[in-house]
């Protein structure tokens, strides 16, 4: 069994789950500097599905493909610490200002260059835009079948993959030929933690630009250990029509953004687990809301 070639599409996003007062700038755009940059949560769910395939099919390789500024290399490393084999950072000023259409175009062109893959897997949506469009658009651009809202890859035999989809009113088991694009829901299992050995192995991994800007003490390593060099692709590394990239390739124009102040100070997520419900009941009784 030679395993599968998996590409995980991932995005580095501002952590919008814990926003403070300075989360937005006066002009209504997201103040990225005020929010920590994290691995988009559903992309981590997607990575976990990829890692499970790798666990079952030795010889499987996982490549993280991400588009973003230089610091987005961080999530490639995060992926490698968890079991991804390598990554490609697509970064160029020409990509700046991309909406979902321009993003999927750039990713699609990068994937055409990669060419050889069996499964493209991404999170359903990113927490900064919540569009859930990039995955499906990439599939369209590559002319591949797409399966969205996946919760679990159940089985792969040869060129056929069976998955469970989580829909609003139930689940659906679907089968699809490879290659394909999958998007994964947050209801899928959480991604495993970083692995100690992989962390120590890959912690020095850097892109060329990062390497140039650092005073790395271990320069010789990057010749001796090729896996420490994270590939960095600019617009000149992919075939593309400049019109379809970045701002000019993005029909979405933000008219205004309103800063909504929520009334409730904090929200709580309560799952259907007995513990959570017990706890909620206790709190409601304690606060004399009921009883």
């Amino acid at each position: 069994m030679k395993g599968y070639k998996i590409i995980v599409l991932a995005k580095q996003v501002p952590d919008t789950r814990n926003v403070g007062k300075d989360a937005m700038k006066a002009d209504g755009t997201v103040n990225r500097a005020a929010l920590p940059a994290i691995f988009n949560p559903e992309d981590l769910n997607a990575l976990e599905q990829a890692l499970r395939i790798k666990d079952s099919f030795p010889g499987t390789t996982i490549t993280i493909l991400t588009m973003g500024p230089g610091r987005a290399a961080e999530i490639i490393r995060e992926g490698m610490f968890r079991g991804a084999d390598d990554g490609i950072l697509l970064t160029d000023r020409a990509f700046a200002g991309s909406d979902t259409l321009a993003t999927s175009y750039a990713l699609g062109q990068a994937l055409k260059k990669i060419k050889d893959f069996d499964i493209i897997i991404a999170g359903r949506q990113a927490i900064d835009g919540d569009t859930a469009q990039v995955g499906p658009q990439v599939a369209e651009k590559l002319g591949l079948p797409q399966v969205t809202y996946v919760e679990e890859v159940k089985e792969i035999t040869g060129k056929k993959i069976i998955m469970k989809r989580r829909l609003e009113r139930g689940v659906e088991i679907v089968s699809c030929p490879l290659p394909l694009v999958i998007t994964v829901n947050s209801s899928a299992p959480d991604c495993r933690a970083r692995n100690a050995k992989l962390l120590m192995k890959y912690k020095h991994a850097k892109t060329v630009t990062e390497l140039q800007n650092s005073n790395e003490d271990y320069m010789h390593l990057y010749n001796d250990r090729p896996y420490l060099n994270i590939q960095e692709w600019t617009v000149s590394d992919i075939e593309s029509n400049p019109e379809e990239l970045g701002l000019s390739g993005s029909p979405t124009k933000v008219k205004t953004v309103e800063n909504v102040v929520l009334q409730a100070k904090e929200a709580k997520i309560i799952t259907s687990a007995d513990n959570d419900i017990d706890q909620l009941m206790r709190e409601l009784i304690e606060s004399h809301t009921i009883g």
Binding site: R192, A193, R194, N195, A196, K197, L198, L199, M200, K201, K203, D217, Y218, L221, R225, N275, R282
Partner: protein
């Protein structure tokens, strides 16, 4: 989203102790493994960075998975099906998470798939895991047994078993106790007989109170010399669950650490592999195993202290009575300050001891590769002596403090703390065993009293005394010098009696006096490096001083003849 390493800056402080560089340099044989292993460090800074990052992973798993699972594991517990243990669901999740993160076999050599971490970061991981779930740290912490295999087993056995611990997530157990052999292990009866036909040792008998008794790989203490009655007839064996022959008769119903299965085991012709030399089972190997395990329990105790302190603190800040948070009442903030001082004191003693163990064990392993220089040999002996007297001291002191902190944490909660609604009641139940297993506090005192009578504690106290501290901390230094006089007087008085019973009678008091002075010094030296410990140092010295004075007074007015007064019925 919680990270139990990053939210506790005291841990990183202890990881950065000045002696660490030497420990790591020795442990890494001057960083020669980097050519062979892609995850070996380049130099000390790189190694430290790796410890730091790996502990961050430990902290993340503990905050996100282990701690949230603790309550359901405590409620569900493990159970026995067909003679084998099924862990609680949360326990299985914890094991899987830590396994996938490669956190088994942390201190084992890389050749066997280990991380080759020194004891200090390994013990720190145990400290963190224990804060998350003191019951679970038992299962995870039994990777200590692999250290004993690494120390004493043959190359063949190491190659066979150690990779399974590091890579396959095999858990371990140490099968020592029997119904009639608890504190007195010389009485072990489980029989090991050589079977000529099968060319193997066969184990027959019963073991009791065995933590994780159904683990994949077990170290078993058994009587290999028929007809003998004492410790010299005992040998150590490896039992591999794959071979079968051992069943779990029952799991004990315990007060605490419920997630950790405590098993009664029946051995029926179970094949065992002899470890090391015959007859050395108890005398040499169990002693080493126990010392490692005792340090582990000390780490467990410190983790419990951390959990108890945090629960107490949080509640005291949130609970409003008489129009204000209860932490603002002297009766409560004093309790919390003393808890924090005891926590910091136990922790600094824990890492001091771990460093001593690291120094001597690393030299010991090096001595198997090459002849040590005289200077190195002397240093090894010195650190071994210190490890030997500090291990029972930290196990005894930290486990007693974990009980005290758990008690106080409930006290701060008032009636609510007595209810099952808050984690403190579980912490209280979990704490209780720490001062009992791997040798009760009374037995730690038996091991530690040598440090008092030989003057070894005093010599180490003098070492601390000789260290320079900043002028503004000098007053604490001076008060500890005076306190040391009280200790010396008390030791003189007791040893001058030349009566063993009199020494035994005061042993705990003397060991505690040494403990208070040593922990006070360590906190003072910590404060000298970082002022975040200033309050704890001041408060602990005030507390320790009162304790030492009380013991000194008790001893001063005690005479050999008084012992009869303590004997009611015998």
């Amino acid at each position: 989203m919680a990270n139990f390493y990053n939210d506790n800056k005291e841990l990183r402080f202890h990881l950065q102790h000045p002696l660490m560089e030497k420990i790591v340099r020795l442990k890494e044989r001057n960083f020669t493994e980097k050519e062979k292993f892609d995850y070996a460090p380049m130099d000390y800074e790189d190694a430290f960075d790796s410890f730091d990052k790996v502990l961050e992973v430990v902290g993340e798993i503990c905050g996100d998975i282990v701690a949230p699972n603790a309550e359901s594991i405590d409620a569900e517990g493990p159970h026995v099906v067909d003679g084998h243990v099924i862990y609680a669901r949360g326990t299985q999740e914890n094991i899987e998470a830590l396994n996938k993160a490669g956190l088994m076999g942390m201190s084992l050599p890389r050749t066997y798939g280990g991380l080759n971490f020194p004891i200090v970061p390994y013990i720190m991981a145990a400290d963190i895991v224990s804060r998350a779930d003191a019951g679970f740290v038992n299962i995870w912490g039994l990777q200590d047994c692999a250290e004993t295999i690494n120390e004493f087993a043959s190359e063949e056995q190491k190659a066979k078993y150690l990779p399974r611990v590091c890579n396959d997530g095999d858990t371990m157990a140490m099968d020592l106790t029997e119904p009639d052999a608890g504190s007195d292990l010389q009485a072990v009866q489980l029989k090991a007989t050589w079977d000529e036909k099968k060319q193997t040792w066969l184990l027959n008998g019963v073991k009791r109170f065995i933590t994780n008794g159904d683990g994949h790989i077990s170290l078993v203490l058994a009587r290999s010399e028929a007809g003998t009655k004492d410790g010299r007839g005992l040998s150590m064996f490896i039992y591999d669950k794959k071979n079968g022959g051992v069943t779990v008769r029952r799991i004990e119903h315990k007060m605490g650490i419920i997630g950790s299965p405590t098993c009664e085991l029946v051995f029926k012709d179970a094949p065992g592999e002899l470890v090391g030399d015959r007859k050395m089972g108890l005398i040499k190997y169990v002693m080493a195993l126990m010392n490692g395990a005792r340090l582990g329990i000390a780490a467990q105790s410190v983790g419990v202290c951390e959990a108890a302190y945090r629960e107490g603190l949080q509640y005291a800040k949130e609970r409003m009575q008489f129009g204000k948070a209860i932490i603002r009442f002297p009766a409560v903030y004093e309790m919390l300050a003393t808890m924090k001082a005891k926590l910091d004191a136990s922790r600094t003693l824990l890492y001091e001891t771990a460093r001593f163990v690291d120094m001597y064990k690393t030299y010991m392993h090096i001595s198997e590769e090459r002849k040590l220089e005289k200077e190195e040999r002397d240093e090894m002996k010195q650190y071994q002596k210190l490890a030997d007297i500090f291990t029972p001291l930290v196990k005894g002191m930290a486990s007693e403090y974990s009980n005290q902190l758990a008690y106080d944490a409930i006290q701060i909660h008032g009636g609510s703390g007595f209810m099952k609604d808050y984690p403190v009641e579980r912490i209280y139940r979990d704490a209780r065993i720490t001062s009992i297993y791997e040798g009760t506090t009374q037995l730690q005192v038996v091991a530690a009293i040598r440090g008092v009578t030989t003057g070894a504690y005093l010599a180490q106290i003098r070492e601390y005394e000789a260290e320079k501290v900043a002028p503004e901390l000098e007053y604490m230094h001076r008060s500890l010098i005076i306190l040391t006089d009280d200790y010396e007087q008390a030791v003189k008085k007791v040893t001058a009696s030349n009566d063993n019973e009199f020494v035994d009678f005061h042993a705990r008091r003397l060991v505690e006096m040494a403990g208070h002075i040593i922990m006070s010094y360590l906190l003072l030296l910590d404060t000298n490096r970082d002022r975040m410990f200033l309050k704890s140092a001041k408060n602990y010295i005030a507390f320790g001083k009162a304790q030492v004075k009380a013991h000194a007074e008790f001893i001063r007015s005690s005479e050999l003849n008084d012992l009869g007064m303590y004997k009611y019925e015998m």
